[in-house]
């Protein structure tokens, strides 16, 4: 135990790793020391002095456990008369100017100041002077309201902005007891990550402007789930009131994925679940309008129409498209329904890169996938390369992981992007290129990596930043220390031949491997895009393998055989740039749409089936690093809406080969038994923070 030290706390001996902070050491052994300014995800600041403990030999009085590293032989008292007096004194100071407005404070009920005053505080105050007053509340920015009277100046929001998001937006203004939280020159606090400061705030000083006065914490139940708004798969708790209304999303720390942070797009996008616009029952087209109907009538109608189309045109006339926002269970049942019940191989998911891959390109994709790395391994990367990828747009919390890798683990960053991105300012080297020449640029970088003395006189590729040679020179110097993490965005915006671009990325990665080991992370479209790929929700290609011609292209072809389509949650009519595409959908003999809302696509349907949102069903999502994570049913669906897989199981009852799933767990068991990517990954192995199938295989 050379790397451990032994200390005694309140008479009990403990061994903890060297360098551990005393507070962490105590917490890991179940010893509660009150804190305000300290937060496990932020650096210590030692400002609030609440965590004072007695350490033998310290002549200057008690010291702060949050900022003191453990030392061999340390003897610590956390409950002595001196410590208790210090705690009471600090809490009395904290409350001098704190308004006792708990009855109208959003934080009351889950407020550390309230809790710690009850646990450690003096009970009464001896302060008879007038309290400090501020104008309140004020809007710190579009999302956050600030009540300066409640603020205890713990620096958490300030440190979040300085250390985690690195925008330095929230700062301390003025001095002494006039000190207050604010922004420089009262500029609005605008950030992709602003909501995190609400959760960090240990009092009711920072609140969400939309959520103020909407709820009392004791009315809420928190259900563990996963954010559905991007493929990062940040863990969340869904707060539900009275079992029927989603009130907020809270972060749920998964150190492997989100490290306790959420982006605003994820955190604040929950109101759709409660929307009165949600579809509540099946709708069937009557001329130009829709009429509510029962499940049995809707499903029987669909079954009859499908059967007659199959009889007339064969099963290949039926196609299905599913959204990669559906669960693995939905997608798996969808594929089984199409293949085993209807008998067609024409499945696809949308959105996805609109490309049919050649066998060479599929090999390239496979090569990149073989190097798929865990997100948390970014902390071990020597150099992170953003290859035409902007995590801040696609998977925002990944930006924070990259900043953490740079800040705390000294990773280097290389940004190769057509334009400046949020992370460019942290890059050791940047290089830009004309988007349509992405593949050329990758090949040139690859050649440059393989032959350090570059002879390519190709300054023309770069438009504004470094010339290729200067860039490669810098890259060679900074690349001296692997391992590498290559993050690429396989939607390849602006590139005509996306398959070629994919091969080019693989070529680049291969060249990089001549210098050191490489891990890859793709930026994908939706929360379960990885699951949709793994479950093969893709059309067959010319040689029978997947990644064939996308549904959109097939339906747009003049000789398209498709006469009927099932669209599960994909809003093709809105998202397809071709204005004629909606007409192609309308011209189908049968269009069935599963949806939450009456979308542009749903409006074209013959039958609209009301689907459950992610908050109303149980299942799994697979995130960008292929971590399978569980979402749980937290509220009932509106009206008689049902999960997509349930709808399909019911629909299959009208066919010769009905499906018999009754529980999502049963579906996952079958996935874990039959789908290569997930073989052996049972639910018991997945657990509350998910699991990656790669981790099951011996290294």
């Amino acid at each position: 135990m050379e790397d451990h030290v032994t200390l005694r706390v309140d008479g009990d001996e403990m061994q903890v790793p060297k360098g551990t902070l005393l507070w962490e050491a105590c917490a890991s052994h179940g010893i509660d020391i009150p804190i305000f300014c300290y937060h496990t995800k932020l650096g210590p600041v030692g400002a609030c002095r609440t965590c004072l403990v007695e350490v033998e030999g310290q002549t200057k009085g008690p010291i702060t456990a949050c900022s003191t590293p453990v030392a061999e032989g340390m003897v610590v008292r956390t409950r002595s008369p001196i410590v208790e007096k210090a705690q009471r004194g600090i809490l009395e100071f904290l409350l001098l100017n704190h308004p006792l407005d708990c009855p109208i404070c959003d934080r009351a009920g889950e407020c550390p100041l309230q809790d710690q005053t009850f646990s450690y505080g003096p009970g009464t105050s001896r302060y008879i002077e007038p309290k400090r007053h501020h104008v309140k509340p004020i809007a710190l920015g579009p999302t956050i309201a600030l009540d300066r009277e409640r603020c205890v100046l713990c620096w958490r929001c300030v440190r979040f902005c300085a250390e985690v998001a690195e925008d330095k937006s929230i700062v301390l203004l003025d001095r002494g007891d006039h000190t207050m939280v604010g922004t420089f020159q009262e500029k609005p606090y605008v950030s992709n990550f602003s909501g995190n400061v609400i959760e960090l705030c240990p009092v009711g000083a920072l609140t969400g402007r939309k959520q103020r006065f909407n709820f009392r914490p004791w009315e809420l139940q928190n259900h563990p789930s996963v954010c559905p708004h991007c493929p990062m798969g940040c863990n969340i708790n869904v707060s539900v009131r009275k079992n029927d209304e989603v009130i907020r999303f809270l972060s749920r720390d998964n150190p492997e994925v989100d490290d306790s942070w959420l982006c605003d797009r994820g955190r604040f996008n929950f109101e759709f679940i409660n929307s009165p616009e949600r579809l509540r029952s099946p709708l069937i087209r009557r001329g130009d309008s829709f009429e509510e109907t029962s499940w049995s009538e809707a499903l029987e109608y669909i079954a009859n129409r499908l059967q007659s189309i199959v009889e007339e045109h064969g099963p290949a006339a039926v196609a299905g498209v599913a959204s990669p926002r559906l669960t693995n269970e939905d997608l798996f049942v969808f594929k089984r329904f199409m293949r085993d019940v209807v008998g067609t191989a024409a499945v696809d998911h949308y959105p996805r890169p609109q490309v049919a891959l050649t066998s060479r390109e599929r090999t390239a994709l496979q090569a990149l996938d073989d190097k798929l790395m865990p997100i948390a391994d970014l902390n071990g990367a020597g150099t992170i390369v953003l290859l035409g990828a902007d995590p801040s747009e696609r998977e925002p919390v990944l930006e924070l992981r990259i900043r953490q890798a740079i800040n705390r683990h000294s990773a280097q960053l290389v940004v190769v992007n057509p334009h400046e991105i949020a992370l460019s300012s942290r890059a050791n080297a940047t290089f830009d290129y004309a988007p349509e020449r992405f593949a050329d640029m990758c090949h040139q970088l690859a050649r440059g990596l393989l032959s350090p003395v570059s002879t390519a006189a190709t300054g023309a590729i770069s438009t504004t930043s470094e010339a290729l040679e200067a860039f490669l020179d810098r890259v060679h110097r900074s690349f001296a220390n692997g391992p590498f993490a290559v993050i690429y965005d396989d939607s390849f915006a602006g590139v005509i031949d996306k398959g070629d671009a994919l091969s080019a990325v693989a070529t680049f990665v291969e060249a990089l491997q001549s210098i050191g080991s490489v891990g890859t992370l793709p930026l994908l479209d939706d929360c379960n895009s990885m699951g949709a790929r793994d479950l093969g929700i893709l059309p067959d290609g010319v040689d029978g393998a997947s990644w064939g011609m996308p549904f959109v292209q097939r339906l747009s072809a003049p000789d398209s055989p498709i006469r009927a389509a099932l669209i599960l949650g994909s809003n093709l009519a809105r998202d397809e740039p071709d204005p004629g595409f909606a007409a192609r959908l309308r011209d189908l003999d049968l269009l069935v749409v599963h949806e939450l809302f009456l979308t542009d696509t749903a409006r074209l349907a013959d039958v609209i089936l009301p689907a459950a949102s992610f908050a109303e069903k149980t299942g799994t999502f697979t995130n960008t690093e292929r971590r399978v994570q569980v979402i749980t049913e937290t509220v009932p669906s509106p009206g008689i809406a049902r999960a997509d897989w349930e709808i399909l199981v019911d629909l299959s009852q009208y066919f010769d080969q009905p499906l018999s799933y009754t529980l999502p767990q049963q579906i996952w068991d079958e996935i874990a038994g039959r789908v290569a990517a997930y073989r052996g990954l049972s639910l018991s192995k997945i657990g509350p923070t998910g699991a990656r199938p790669h981790a099951l295989q011996p290294a």
Partner: protein, 428 residues
């Protein structure tokens, strides 16, 4: 006694480079960098027993020896942010003999392997900053600063940096924040500045007077320096004395002489009609002492005031005469600490205004029986709990004034009025 630091009181125009050079100026620096090794310089300073003159009294040579030998660059920072009530010695040292400081900086920098030193001067000392700027320019022009000084191969650059008006920036780690361009807040320790200081590099921070001693010690030797002062407090000390005395000002005193000599001989005694009620020996942070004969005979030394239950600190003597309300004097100190609290830690941020408000309330005749134990308990809750020493400082005079002038506090509470009310304007 022949002055060491205050030669300007005897030599006219000593602030001019040629006059300074005529009186052995830069000879010690020349000797140091042409004849001595850096560690020999540190050894001489260690042997001299020179201790930090800013107030803490930490042995200077030891502080220098903490600088690691292999981590470059290192920095020397001179704390010239003199802003504690009662202290005004450094401004005279800089104003009247700037080259003495610059030579000391150059020698100290050489001793710790530093090639770029900073003088962080209080922003309000505007014209003194200009004097330093001019002196630095003169020294560069004459080849005493800059590249390859005296052909020794040693380079030294001195930057004069002006503060922006905060008492906290005299706290050495907050000073570093401020020097780096941030808002000044005290830093967590460890790491100590000797390991990670300015820009994360090993840094020595010394007071002006401390550094001003260095050329004399290097030129004349440690034994010569020890011929001044006492065993435990070698050397001299510049003492500032203010209040109703006949000749308030700065006096360089041999350590070990008595406060009586400073008060009666040098400062000319109390002004006519004034009697000594109490005095603060070491600036606003040092506990006041009643003006008893025994307290007047305390030896001017770190040990002398430690034994008397106070602190020699920066030797800034504030004289409180008998016609001044002690609460009024205390209020002035308490409001200073409340105003200057940086706001980083809770005990100092919330405690210092509470103390000031309570003292003000008692002084204005609205005191309650329970206010005296309350004052002492607030002090107890600040002392040893605050982030930096400035919180502790705010308590020392409350505790002392309640201890020595308990009757006066009680009188305010009992009569619900200030017995000195008619005098109040004079001391406000």
């Amino acid at each position: 006694m022949e002055p060491i630091l205050f030669k300007h009181t005897e030599i006219p125009d000593l602030d001019r480079l040629e006059v300074y050079v005529d009186h052995h100026g830069y000879a010690a620096f020349r000797r140091a960098i042409t004849e001595l090794q850096p560690q020999e310089v540190t050894q001489i300073v260690s042997d001299s027993g020179l201790a930090g003159r800013g107030g803490a009294g930490f042995p200077t040579g030891r502080k220098w020896s903490f600088i690691p030998k292999s981590v470059l660059p290192t920095y020397l920072v001179v704390n010239a942010d003199e802003s504690e009530p009662g202290a005004f010695k450094d401004r005279e040292l800089m104003e009247r003999n700037p080259h003495q400081l610059l030579e000391g900086v150059a020698i100290a920098a050489f001793a710790i392997g530093c090639q770029k030193a900073f003088i962080y001067i209080r922003g309000e000392f505007l014209y003194i900053g200009e004097i330093l700027d001019a002196a630095v320019a003169e020294a560069y022009a004459a080849g005493y600063l800059g590249q390859n000084v005296f052909g020794s191969g040693y380079n030294i650059e001195i930057v004069v940096h002006r503060g922006a008006g905060a008492y906290i920036c005299g706290e050495e780690s907050a000073l570093l924040d401020s020097l780096e361009g941030y808002r000044g807040f005290p830093r967590l320790r460890p790491p100590f500045p000797a390991i990670k200081g300015l820009y994360g590099q090993p840094t020595v921070i010394n007071n002006v007077e401390t550094i001003a001693n260095v050329p004399h010690i290097v030129r004349n030797g440690a034994d010569w320096y020890r011929s001044y002062g006492t065993d435990q407090s070698p050397g001299t000390k510049v003492c500032s004395i203010s209040g109703p005395v006949n000749r308030p000002g700065n006096y360089e005193m041999n350590m070990g002489t008595t406060f009586r000599e400073l008060l009666e001989d040098r400062a000319g005694g109390m002004r006519e009609g004034k009697k000594l009620k109490a005095y603060i020996p070491g600036g606003a942070s040092a506990p006041m002492l009643p003006g008893t004969e025994a307290n007047i005979d305390i030896s001017l030394s770190y040990e002398g005031y430690r034994e008397a239950g106070s602190s020699f600190g920066s030797a800034s003597f504030i004289i409180i005469p008998d016609d001044v309300c002690i609460l009024r004097a205390q209020l002035s100190l308490s409001e200073f600490f409340a105003h200057e609290s940086c706001g980083k830690c809770i005990p100092c941020r919330e405690g210092t205004p509470w103390l000031a408000k309570t003292v003000r309330r008692i002084e204005s005749g609205q005191g309650r029986e329970e206010d005296l134990p309350l004052l002492l308990d607030i002090c107890d809750n600040i002392l040893g709990r605050s982030f930096c020493a400035l919180g502790d400082f705010s308590t020392s005079n409350i505790v002392a004034s309640v201890k020595y002038f308990y009757d006066e506090y009680e009188e305010h509470i009992r009569s619900q009025a200030c017995p000195y009310a008619h005098q109040a304007r004079a001391v406000a």
